[in-house]
Amino acid sequence: MSVQKKSIKITLISLLFYSLLVATHEGEYWPFSIYPMFSKAGNPWTRALVRDVSNTNPDELWETTTLDNLNGNPVSMKSIGVDQIDYSNFVSKTKEWDEKRILALRNMLGERYLITQDWMIFKVHGKMIGNDSVVVETVPILLFKSDTTLFNPNLSSNYYSSE
């Protein structure tokens, strides 16, 4: 068999293997991928932010607001050595905020910072409104204090648990 024939034969076999894996795993089986990112345009999205709210008025802590009117001071993920996409996905994809998941998030961000600071975990929702504007709103969901974690009293328990 010539080199070219052998090469294309191996390529086609690998393509079959590749196709089977991505077809059965929603388009992703690293490093095999159909690159589906950004394939669904116009959908609402959810990301996440952290703010230091140690000095924020307790009456304003749980307000849903916009990016321009957030309480507290920003906490840069870069400065604490956390990948911001990881953090966002952890927060936005968690459906069940049980003790294990909360501890995992506190561990990811770094318990040492929480000894002296109160950190608010915000979900950030973006969506199209009408034909010509994008609205971004921020919802405080968890308050990390040194000795405890508080849920937003304005949100129902279904928000934190599907059970």
Binding site: S7, I8, P31, I34, Y35, P36, A41, R47, S79, T94
Partner: protein, 293 residues
């Protein structure tokens, strides 16, 4: 010549023999992939030490519980093993299957690292290049045959990847995908990511242009999807440099409009997109002339 033969010839038909320039070029490509892989293995391994829960199982983690890689030093040991095996592979010491072992270990490293929700693609081309070396070194003995196969196989999957990205968009959304308002939503999303990462954010001039003009934003998306669609033409040798340039330009545009960097994609496109050994062999007489002057 039918299309199948034409594609086969364009991917695997050259060179006829290996010159010094080809050998040097191939080792530079291999060195870059080895360097990137070692870098990724350690970056992912060290970061995995911070992870203690699985939110989104990827790849092999759908079959086995990947949490055995968390809360211990296995990711670091894995990074060490990958690094050593890559050094043996690079110098062709030991089994022809070493790159294949690296490929499997790197997959474990990836799924352990990205088990908390993120599905990044920035390292996919490096992973596919390791796959190419794994298959090429195992299947071919002769250095010329390995060269032709590994370069051609890598280019095959680069072209296929860009093409499938454009088709995913057409299936996921349809022709309406290019509506500039979709870019507004992505700019807002990525701006939030930068705000989260840096603690502050400012729009650049490309983003301001897109946000102020629907036609401008629509044109940006059209150029993006059209470039991905023609990415498959990188399979053809004569078109390869032009397609590589277009794809590099597209990545630059994505970086400016959405703050997403694909550095390793761009470097790999620069290495594989242009016929450096052939250009060197063609013009080496002139280089010699310049040295004498």
């Amino acid at each position: 010549m039918n299309l199948g033969s034409l594609i086969t010839d364009n991917l695997f038909g050259k060179p006829d023999n290996l010159t010094k320039a080809h050998r040097f070029y191939f080792k530079i490509f291999e060195l870059y992939i080895v360097y990137e892989t070692i870098n990724l293995a350690w970056e992912w391994g060290l970061y995995t030490l911070k992870i203690s829960d699985v939110v989104l199982p990827l790849g092999i983690a759908n079959i086995i519980d990947i949490s055995f890689m968390h809360d211990n030093y296995l990711p670091v040991i894995n990074a060490l093993a990958i690094s050593l095996l890559l050094l043996f592979s690079f110098f062709r010491i030991g089994s022809k299957w070493l790159y294949a072992v690296v490929f499997v270990l790197l997959h474990f490293q990836y799924v352990a690292r990205f088990s908390i929700g993120e599905i990044p693609h920035s390292a996919n081309l490096v992973g596919m290049a390791i796959f190419s070396f794994a298959v090429g070194v195992a299947a071919f003995k002769d250095e010329l045959h390995r060269y032709r196969f590994i370069i051609g196989f890598t280019i095959f999957y680069i072209g296929l990847g860009y093409f499938s990205a454009s088709i995913s968009k057409l299936i996921g959304t349809g022709p309406n995908w290019i509506d500039g308002r979709h870019l507004w939503l992505w700019i807002a999303e990525k701006s939030t990511d930068i705000l989260s990462r840096e603690g502050q954010f400012n729009y650049n001039f490309v983003q301001v242009l897109a946000l102020n003009s629907i036609p401008a934003a629509t044109l940006m998306l059209f150029i993006g999807i059209a470039t991905e669609f023609i990415g498959i033409l990188i399979w053809f040798r004569k078109l390869r440099p032009y397609i590589a340039l277009a794809l590099i330009g597209m990545h630059f545009g994505v970086m400016m409009s959405m703050n997403i960097r694909f550095d390793s994609f761009m470097i790999e496109l620069i290495i594989l997109g242009f016929p450096f050994p052939e250009l060197y062999n063609k013009y080496k007489g002139h280089l010699h002339y310049f040295r004498r002057v």
